[in-house]
Structures are given as C-alpha cells and as structure tokens.
C-alpha cells in the first residue's frame, strides 16, 4: 500500500484487494500445508493461517480511530 493513497483518493480494485488477496493466499497455503505433513509443515500452516490474525491486530492497533 503506497503512501500516496490518501483516504480521499479513489482506490483501484487492485489496490483495494492487494492485502486481502495475500492474506487469503497465505490462509489457503496454511490450510493445505497442515494436510501434507507434521512438524515443520504444521509450523508453516500456523504461520499461513495466522496471517488473518496478524492483520486483525494490525488493523485494530493502527487503523482504528
């Protein structure tokens, strides 16, 4: 997300969906990885599916107000 995107400018769909897309992709990778194996695979899965939670924390801390 570039700094030039101030809140009064219209955003393109591409810019609107950039972060949601990466969060969704990381979630899907996490969901599939846990199926593939244990140990390291599970750790990757937790990171992947943990991405929405990280985004949640980011939004609530920095974007709320």
């Amino acid at each position: 997300m570039s700094a030039s995107n101030n809140s009064r400018n219209r955003r393109s769909a591409r810019s609107t969906f950039a972060l949601p897309f990466w969060i969704a992709l990381a979630s899907l990778v996490g969901l599939v990885t846990a199926l593939l194996g244990d140990g390291l695979w599970n750790a990757v899965a937790w990171l992947g599916l943990g991405t929405p939670i990280v985004a949640l924390g980011y939004g609530l801390i920095y974007r709320t107000g």
Partner: protein
C-alpha cells in the same frame, strides 16, 4: 462499479445472508466445542477402564462379532472399527440393513475378554455434534444445512464484490470509531469479513461436501463397485453364519496393502460395501494419505480378495473435506486459530444482522461519491 450493479450484488448479499445467518450462527456456536472434541472427550474420560487381561491374548474378531450379535439378537452386522490406543473393538449392528443411524446399536468390546466397554463419548458432545450435523432431522436436515452453506458461500462472494466500492476511499483495516456506531460496525464487518474470507470459504464448501456424504457414498457403491457384483445379482446378502472368517479377510486385506493400516470393516449389504463383500477399509500411514481410505473388497462367502481399489475423486474430496472442515489436522495451534476465526465469523454474522436491522437508506447511498463536498463521510445514517 455501476450503481445498479452494486444494488444487484447488495440484494444478493442481503437475501442470501438473511436466510442462512441464523443457521450459520448455530453452526459457528456448536462448532466451537466440536473443534476441541478430542480434548473434551479426553478430559471427561475418567480413565478408569482397563482391559480385563492387559497383555493377554486377543480374542478373534469373529468371536467379538458373535458376542456382539448375541447381545443384540436378530441384528445384522454393519460396521466394525478399532480403537488405536487400546485393545477395543467397536461393533455397529442394526435390526435391518436399511436401518437409519438412529436405529443402529453401537457397542464397544474388550478384545482381551469380550466384555463390553463403557461408552466414553460424552452425551453432551454427541448432542452438539448431532445438532451441528443435521439438527436431529437426519438426512433431510443434513442436506438442508448443505443448502444453507451454499447460500453462505454466495453471501461470501457477494460480500467480496461489495468490499471494493465500500473500501474505495479507505485504507485496508480502517475502523472509523469517531463517527456513528453504524459506521464503526460497518467497518468491522468489512474488515473481519475480508480477512476471514479464505478460511470461511474453505470451511463452508467442505461443510457442504460433508453434508453430501450419504449421496456420495451411494454413488460410489452403485458406480465404482458395480462390476464386483456381476453374476451375484440373484444371491441374497450372506447371513453371519454364511460369512467366511472375518479375521482371515482382515489379514488378507492388510497383507495385500502393507503400506496401509486397518481402519474399519463394512459388512455386506451396508452402505459402505456391496451386498456380497466385506469392505475392509485401509488408510495410508503418512499425514496426507491417512485421510484417504482404500477399500479391500473380500467376497464374504468365500473369503477371497476380489479387489483393492482406490476411490474416485468425489470420495477423495469427501475424505479431505473432513479435516479441512474440522480443523483437527494440524495440532493445537491450528485448533486455536480455528477458534479465533470462528469467533470473528460470529462477529461478522451478528454485525451483518445489526447493519441490516439499522438500515435507513439503500446501500448505494452509503458509498455514493459525494457530489458537492469532498467530505470522506460516506453515510448519513446515524
């Protein structure tokens, strides 16, 4: 996006959500304890059961089966499954082969003595599971919840489409707390909705597949196993007395697939086998293949192995839909993530209801570009 397009998607989002929300709330709430099914059952288990003869010789499966049938006179065998961590065999019998699940009899037996083992599943969890699966309405209830799942998926898709115009002038994750309560909840609804979208889509679609378990298994039996019963059409389903040794059948199946382990046996005439075969179901030993089951089909009269065959794609999809829906396949951290995402979904559902109930104007008025002012304020409702 055109105002009219937005109105159409908004209508789709509103109606699909309104119809399914109450059921989805029920599913999210009952799903919470189900995520920790294993932990809850383990905690409620009193651990006071021990095999009668620990380390002693195991009774044959044929012996256990005859004990089970003696305990339910007139019943026919349906399933036999095996506990992994203790010498216990679970036998399902039913008065008829067509009996519904509710009419079946389930009992666990100590393989070292043939005595019954007290039920260690909590009745509370069984109640929650039944409510979650079919609302005590059997197959129709299950299929109904599947239809509600499809509506939820439409609501998710339309929600993603509407996310663009709503967020046109907002940064990702923005929650405007300084304006009206409705704006705050609109932002939270959009934010929580968009970050949970992939997980919720997967859980929704795998849930829908799970509701189709009965038709999927029926399709598999009538299509994939059809060739095995050619020439047998006029024979009756073998009675337990007519069946060849179950132990020999299981041994044959396990030896024919050394890379797999025994999961359960489906008896002839039930849903998971033909009318004439033992279906000995084997599972892989790796993390991925343990979810995929492969049946060895053994002629129940002669004891001969007819075939071991992989299952078609739709049965594999059903098998993988289990873990992907339950979240029980990646350790406790995955279950905790499942819980948080479930709770976020509850907030999305409830805030969606609130946004609908507190609506004042058509949705397009909330995202219309102000023509006379540069104010970023998007809504006039308060």
């Amino acid at each position: 996006m055109q105002q009219r397009t937005i109105r159409v998607w908004s209508g789709i989002h509103k109606w699909t959500s309104l119809i399914c929300t109450i059921f989805m709330l029920m599913l999210c709430l009952t799903g919470l304890p189900l995520i920790f099914h294993d932990e809850i059952d383990a905690a409620l288990d009193t651990h006071d059961w021990e095999p009668a003869n620990p380390g002693g010789p195991m009774l044959s499966l044929d012996r256990i089966l005859s004990v089970a049938l003696d305990n339910q006179p007139g019943d026919k065998p349906i399933f036999m499954s095996f506990d992994k961590d203790r010498p216990v065999v679970n036998v399902t019998t039913a008065p008829t082969l067509e009996a519904s699940e509710g009419a079946m009899h389930f009992a666990s037996y100590d393989r070292t003595s043939g005595e019954t083992v007290p039920d260690h599943e909590s009745s509370f969890m069984a109640f929650i599971l039944e409510l979650h699966m079919n609302m005590f309405l059997g197959l129709p209830g299950m299929l109904f919840l599947g239809a509600m799942g499809l509506l939820l998926f439409l609501a998710i898709v339309s929600g993603v489409v509407l996310y663009a115009p709503f967020m046109r002038k907002l940064n990702f994750g923005t929650v405007r707390t300084g304006k009206t309560r409705r704006i705050k909840w609109l932002d939270l609804h959009n934010f929580f909705g968009v970050i949970t979208v992939a997980w919720l889509s997967v859980v929704t679609l795998t849930g829908v597949v799970n509701t189709l378990a009965t038709p999927i298994i029926d399709l598999w039996r009538t299509h994939s196993l059809a060739d095995l019963i050619e020439g047998y059409e006029n024979q009756s389903v073998p009675t337990p007395e007519e069946m060849a040794s179950l132990d020999a059948a299981v041994k044959e199946a396990v030896e024919a697939a050394p890379d797999k382990t025994l999961q359960f046996v489906a008896f002839p005439g039930g849903q998971f086998s033909t009318d004439f075969h033992y279906g000995v179901f084997l599972q892989g030993k790796t993390s991925l293949t343990q979810h995929l089951i492969t049946p060895a089909l053994i002629n129940a009269r002669t004891g001969e192995l007819s075939d071991i065959r992989g299952t078609p794609w739709y049965v594999k999809s059903l098998a993988l839909s289990g873990p992907l829906h339950f979240g029980d396949y990646g350790g406790l951290p995955l279950k905790i993530l499942w819980t948080i995402l479930d709770l976020l979904t509850i907030i999305v559902l409830v805030s969606g209801l609130y946004l609908w109930a507190s609506r004042r104007r058509p949705v397009t008025s909330e995202i219309r570009e102000p023509t006379t002012t540069h104010s970023p304020s998007l809504t006039t409702s308060s």
